[in-house]
Amino acid sequence: MTGTEARNLALAAVAFAVVACLPLAGSAYWLAIGVTIAMYTVLATSWALFSGPTHYISLATAAFFGVGSYTTAIGIEHLPYWTLPPIAGVLGAVLAALVGLATLRLSGVYFVIFTLGLAELVRQVIIWFQNVSGTKGLYVLTSITEAHIFWQLTGLAALVYLVGWAIWRSRLGFALRIIGDDEEVARHSGINTAGAKVLLFMVPGAVAAITGAILAPRYVYIEPATAFTPMLSFQVVIMALLGGTSRLWGPLVGVIPFTFLWEAISASFPNQTTLLLGICFLLIVYLLPKGFVGLLQAARKRVETREAWA
C-alpha cells in the first residue's frame, strides 16, 4: 500500500464516520433522504463494478433486490434478523452465477434483454408459487427503525467500496479492464473471460440482494408487484451513468444530485412527476454520456493543456 492509498483510506474512513452520524441529527426528513442516497449508492456502485469495466448493461438489479426482500419476508418467521442479509447475499450471488453462466457468453443487447426479463421471470415464479400454495403478501413486522436501516446500508456501502478497491488492484480487475477494451485480445492472452465475468457479476447480485433484505422491514408488506419493480433497475443504471462508471466514486456523484433532483420534482410537481423524470433521463443520457466523472476529467484536461502552453 502506497502513502497516497493509505491517506485516501483514512479520509474515506473519516467520511464514513461523519455520514454515520446523520441519524443523530434528529431530522426524519433528512434521514429518509439519507436512506435513499445510501441505498442507491450501494446499488449503483456495485452495478458499476461489473458494468463499468465490462460495458455489459445489466437490468437485473430488481431481480436480485426482490430475491433479497423475499429472503427477509420468508425468513423472518423462522430465523433471527441478523442472519438474513448474509443469506440473501449468498442467494443473490448464486442466482447471479447461474444467470452469468447462462448469459455472459451473450454479448451486448442480448444480455440487456435477458437481465430485464430475469426480474419478471423471478416475479412470475413467486406468483406461481403463491398461487399453488395459496399464500399471499408477506408481513415483515419488526422493531427495526430508519436509523438502523441507514447504518446497515452505510456499512454495506463501505464494504462495497473496499471490495471494489480490492478488485481494481487484483489480477481479476486487470483482466476485466482488458476484457472491456477488447475481449478478443483478452481471450488470446489466456484470460478465462467467461469465468472472470461470472465472478464479477456475482458482486452486484449479492449486494443488491443484501440491500433488498435490509430494506424489507421498511416496507412492512412485501408483494411481488412492488418487490420486483423494473423501475428500480432503470433508476440504478441512470444514476450510475449520471455519475460515471470509470471511477469507483463515480456513481456516488450521480446518486446524490439525482436524489435531490427526484425529491425536488416529486415535491414541486405532484401531477407531472413521472413525465419530468422521464425528460431528465433523456437529458442526462444525451448531454452527459460520460457522466460527471467524464465532465471533471475533460475540465482537468483543458486546464492541463492550457498550463502546458503557458
Binding site: 395459496g134 416496507y219 405532484p270
Partner: protein, 400 residues
C-alpha cells in the same frame, strides 16, 4: 422623497402586522394526501381515492371549514404522487410530516402502500384511517401501529358470506351443488381463492371446475368454455377489474346457464353496469351499499355533481366515510392535537354515508358490506356484517 419613505415604512409595518397575526392564530388546516397518480394502481385511485378528496374538500370549504373548538378553519390539501411505489409513499409521507408540517395526513391507497407508510404515521402520531387496506392480521398490526384504523373489512368475512349465500340457495333447493371457481393469479385473487376453497368444501359444495389465469390475460374464452363444459350451478371468480369485465363478456357469449354468477373486484363499479346494461342484472360481487339510504343517495348525487362520475358501490363510500370520520373527530375533540383526535376516533361512533361506524378494540370497523348484487340501477348489499338495509338475493336469470 419624504413621502415615499413614509409609504415604505407603512407598508413594512403592515406586512409585519400581517405576518405576526398569522403566527398567532392558524387559519387553515393543512392536510396531506399521498396516493398513486401514475403506476399500476393509478386507475383504481382515480376512481376511488382522489375524487372523494376533491368532493370532500369542496364541501368542507363551501360550508366555511371545519369547526375546531368554535373556530371555523378552512382546509388546504397538499397532494403527492407516490407512483404506486412504497419507497415513494414513505418519502412523501415523511415530507408531509416534516417539511410541509401537515396537521393531518390522509391514509394512502391500497394495502401495500398503507402498510409501508404505517411506521411513519405511527412515529409522528398521525391517525391513519385506511379505507382501501385489507388484511387478516388486524390485531397484530393495530397492536404495533397504534394509530392505524381499518374500514374496509376482512377477506375471510367477504368470502364466508359469499359461500353462505350459495349455501342458503342450495338448501332452499333453488340451485344445485356444483360450483365452478376461478381466480386471477395475483395477490388479492390468490388470497380470496385460497380462503374460499376450504369453506366451499366444508359447506359440502362440489368444485366441478377450478383454475387460475395470469393477471392481464387478454383472452378468457378458454376459461369460460371449460367452466361451461363442467356444467356448474354457480360460477364464482375471484377476479380483478380487467378480468371481471372479460369473464362477464365471455359468459354472455357462451350464454353460461347458472343460478349464481359472481365476480369479485370492479363488479361494484358503475362502469360495469354501463358496459353490460341489462345483462348485469343479478350479477354478484364484493361490496354493496344500502342503496335506499338517504345518506348514500345524497352522497352519490354530490359525487356525480362535483366530479362528473358516480361513486363505486364498494370502497368509494368507505373512502368518503374516512374523511367524514376525520372531520367529526377534529370537531369532536375540538383541537388539532393529533393524540387527542386519535383517542376521539377510538372512543366514539361516527355518522357516515355508509352508516354508523364505531371501531372495535383493534381499531377495526366490524360492520361492513360483504356481498352486493346488481338489482335494477344499483349494486345493492345482499350480505353484511351488521349493516342495515340488506336486500334479498335474486337468482341470475339469463343474459338479456
Amino acid at each position: 422623497m419624504q413621502r415615499r419613505t413614509t409609504l415604505k415604512l407603512a407598508a413594512a409595518l403592515l406586512t409585519a402586522t400581517m405576518l405576526g397575526g398569522s403566527a398567532y392564530a392558524q387559519e387553515t388546516i393543512k392536510l396531506g394526501a399521498v396516493a398513486p397518480k401514475t403506476g399500476p394502481l393509478a386507475g383504481g385511485a382515480a376512481v376511488t381515492h382522489w375524487p372523494n378528496i376533491k368532493l370532500w374538500v369542496e364541501e368542507v370549504n363551501g360550508r366555511g371549514g371545519i369547526d375546531v373548538g368554535g373556530t371555523k378553519m378552512m382546509v388546504e390539501v397538499v397532494e403527492y404522487d407516490d407512483q404506486t411505489n412504497p419507497a415513494e409513499t414513505i418519502a412523501a409521507v415523511t415530507r408531509l410530516a416534516t417539511q410541509d408540517e401537515a396537521d393531518f395526513i390522509l391514509a394512502p391507497y391500497s394495502t401495500g402502500l398503507n402498510l409501508a407508510a404505517a411506521p411513519i404515521f405511527d412515529r409522528f402520531g398521525y391517525p391513519q384511517i385506511t379505507s382501501t387496506a385489507s388484511t387478516d392480521r388486524v390485531a397484530e398490526l393495530s397492536g404495533q401501529f397504534n394509530d392505524l384504523f381499518f374500514l374496509l373489512g376482512q377477506n375471510s368475512e367477504i368470502v364466508g358470506d359469499a359461500v353462505e349465500i350459495l349455501s342458503k340457495l342450495r338448501d332452499a333447493g333453488t340451485i344445485g351443488n356444483k360450483v365452478a371457481m376461478v381466480n386471477v393469479a395475483d395477490a388479492f385473487g390468490i388470497e380470496l381463492a385460497s380462503t374460499a376453497k376450504p369453506i366451499f368444501e366444508a359447506a359440502g359444495f362440489e368444485l366441478v371446475y377450478e383454475t387460475s389465469y395470469p393477471l392481464g390475460t387478454p383472452d378468457l374464452s378458454p376459461v369460460m368454455k371449460a367452466a361451461k363444459a363442467a356444467d356448474p350451478d354457480a360460477f364464482v371468480a375471484w377476479s380483478y377489474p380487467p378480468d371481471t369485465f372479460g369473464l362477464t363478456e365471455q359468459a354472455i357469449i357462451e350464454q353460461l346457464d347458472v343460478g349464481v354468477f359472481y365476480t369479485a373486484v370492479a363488479t361494484a363499479f358503475p362502469a360495469f353496469k354501463g358496459r353490460f346494461g341489462a345483462a348485469a342484472e343479478g350479477i354478484m360481487g364484493i361490496g354493496g351499499v344500502n342503496a335506499d339510504s338517504e345518506a348514500f343517495q345524497d352522497y352519490a348525487k354530490r359525487h356525480m355533481d362535483a366530479t362528473g362520475a358516480a361513486p363505486d358501490y364498494w370502497a368509494s363510500g368507505m373512502m368518503y366515510a374516512s374523511l367524514q370520520i376525520l372531520e367529526q373527530a377534529i370537531t369532536g375533540a375540538g383541537t388539532l392535537d393529533r393524540e387527542t383526535v386519535t383517542q376521539y376516533i377510538k372512543d366514539n361512533a361516527f355518522e357516515t354515508v355508509m352508516g354508523t361506524v364505531e371501531f372495535d378494540d383493534n381499531n377495526n370497523n366490524p360492520s361492513y358490506w360483504t356481498v352486493g348484487q346488481w338489482q335494477g340501477d344499483a349494486f345493492r348489499g345482499v350480505a353484511s356484517t351488521g349493516r342495515e338495509g340488506v336486500v334479498d338475493v335474486k337468482l341470475k336469470e339469463g343474459w338479456e
